[in-house]
């Protein structure tokens, strides 16, 4: 497996080298001010990609625990970005603290100990019920639902949904034992390349916005070009998965569409909270949640499709 992994990461690093080369040439050629800003942002994004890919590479090669920790940390930063711009009140402090200090560690601990049954219900059942209880004990009824619901949303999206990516390591797929890391690689590669390719196609050919008020940068040209090419790449990666090429293409398409919806929905959430970016943590990209928004929708969809059609309990 490690040889396959090295080949795959070799490919990703080659791709990044190519991107950095293109970015370098573009920076020398560009003349207009608007173009300069776009290229500067592009190069900042590429630089951040090096760091993110490097982190993933190290985590994958070290093993399961570090990979789970990496996703737990990603959940932590995403939840923090979400709740930092959510108008909760001081009375919600206990619910907010429980989301961070109780449910993030617990959810990822359940993955680390292979407790799939509780993993699936911890947040939708137990956290869903517990969080409003913690808030109601403070006795403040004003805006109770508008205060409580976003905490539940935030925990669902940034912890429960994102944790389905490392939970792929739990699936028992006959004939695929010990290779689940490759499934996680497949998911992350397809979902992130889809984002990148949608961005590239959108910049090159984008004319018709899909939802101009929600996300002015998402265009039909970007979506179709990005979705088709990311699906093709997913199909081309069939040999690292338990799927046939056609199945791999179908699952990649599901990942791409779910990821697109995630980007759209979270963009609407962000705007309804009055922000343009979730944060400033990753230069060029915005916040961590700007990078993980598509993962939060794609991970559960891919997890459950794979679980239903390919895994045994």
């Amino acid at each position: 497996m490690n040889a396959t992994m090295l080949t795959l990461f070799g490919g990703v690093f080659a791709l990044l080298l190519l991107a950095s080369g293109v970015g370098f040439i573009l920076a020398r050629r560009v003349t207009s001010d608007a173009g300069r800003a776009t290229v500067a942002n592009l190069n900042a994004r590429i630089k951040a990609w090096w760091l993110m890919v490097g982190l993933f590479c190290v985590a994958f090669l070290v093993g399961k625990t570090v990979t789970i920790l990496l996703f737990a940390l990603a959940s932590f930063y995403c939840l923090r970005e979400f709740l930092s711009i959510t108008p909760t009140r001081p009375e919600d402090h206990r619910a907010v603290a429980a989301a961070f200090y109780l449910f993030i560690p617990l959810q990822y601990w359940l993955i680390a100990t292979n407790w799939q049954g509780l993993f699936a219900i911890l947040i939708p059942v137990w956290a869903f019920l517990l969080l409003p209880v913690l808030a109601v004990l403070k006795g403040e009824t004003q805006d109770f639902l508008p205060r409580t619901a976003p905490i539940q949303w935030a925990l669902m999206l940034t912890v429960y949904c994102i944790s389905h990516a490392p939970a792929l390591l739990l699936l028992q797929i006959p004939g695929y034992e010990g290779r689940n890391f490759l499934l996680l690689f497949f998911l992350i590669t397809v979902v992130q390349l889809s984002d990148v390719l949608q961005y590239v196609f959108g910049k090159l050919f984008g004319r018709h916005p899909v939802a101009p008020r929600v996300s002015p940068s998402k265009t039909w040209e970007g979506l179709i070009g990005g979705a088709l090419s990311a699906t093709a790449i997913g199909a081309g990666l069939w040999w690292i998965t338990p799927f046939t090429p056609v199945q791999a293409a179908a699952l990649a398409l599901a990942i791409v569409l779910a990821g697109f919806c995630g980007g759209l929905v979270l963009s609407a959430v962000k705007r309804s909270l009055g922000a343009k970016d979730w944060g400033t943590m990753i230069e060029g990209h915005g916040g961590a949640l700007d990078r993980m928004d598509s993962v939060s929708f794609a991970a559960p969809v891919f997890f459950h499709l794979t679980n239903y059609f390919f895994a045994v309990l």
């Binding site: 923090r80 709740l83 001081p90 009375e91 402090h93 907010v96 961070f100 200090y101 944060g279």
Partner: protein
């Protein structure tokens, strides 16, 4: 080193990055005055200043809280460089503040006097006015701390990791006009930073 550790931990938990909106971090005598909503305010605001400025900037902290145990006193006095004041008001409570200003140092002041749960500050107490009158050469810089009331409200055991931002505004003019007018202006300058 303990200071770096404390600042690192605070940064990881609640961020607290500075946004210099109306002035720049300059080495001149200043009285920073801010809204007060949590015990982290003192650390966050002080840590938002560049390191060279921290040496000559003293947060003003209440003796009844920060002097209550040996550990708190150590953190306040040795690490944060704080001056402790008596809120009971027996002697002249501003005396230690004047001593710091007389050396040409800067102060961090929370003029509400006590922590507030609401996003906007309560009316200011008169200490800021008296200091402004006595030290006309010190710049009066309003500061607004976001999110701290939610991150670490009164009575909470642990701070929740919500990102806080330290907004530094433009210096306000010195006490021309009556006391109430000056204090209302000072409070309005802090409130104005709460938007945007």
């Amino acid at each position: 080193m303990i200071a770096d550790l404390l600042i690192g931990l605070t940064r990881f938990l609640v961020g607290g990055h500075p946004r210099w909106r109306g002035c720049l971090p300059e080495a001149r005598q200043r009285i920073y005055f801010a809204n007060h909503s949590s015990h982290l305010d003192t650390i966050i605001l002080w840590a938002a200043l560049p390191k060279p400025l921290r040496r000559t900037t003293h947060p003003v902290a209440a003796r009844d809280y920060w002097g209550a145990s040996a550990l708190r006193r150590f953190v306040a006095v040795k690490i944060l460089n704080a001056v402790l004041i008596d809120r009971s008001g027996v002697d002249d409570p501003l005396a230690p503040l004047r001593a710091a200003l007389d050396q040409g140092h800067s102060l961090i002041l929370f003029p509400e006097g006590t922590r507030q749960a609401a996003p906007l500050p309560a009316p200011f107490k008169s200490g800021l006015y008296n200091l402004a009158r006595a030290y006309p050469e010190a710049e009066l810089v309003p500061v607004y701390l976001t999110n701290l009331a939610r991150a670490y409200p009164k009575g909470a055991i642990l701070p929740a990791p919500l990102t806080c931002i330290v907004n530094f505004g433009a210096a306000i003019s010195h006490a021309d006009g009556c006391k109430d007018e000056f204090l209302a202006n000072a409070r309005a300058a802090v409130c104005a930073l709460a938007e945007g």
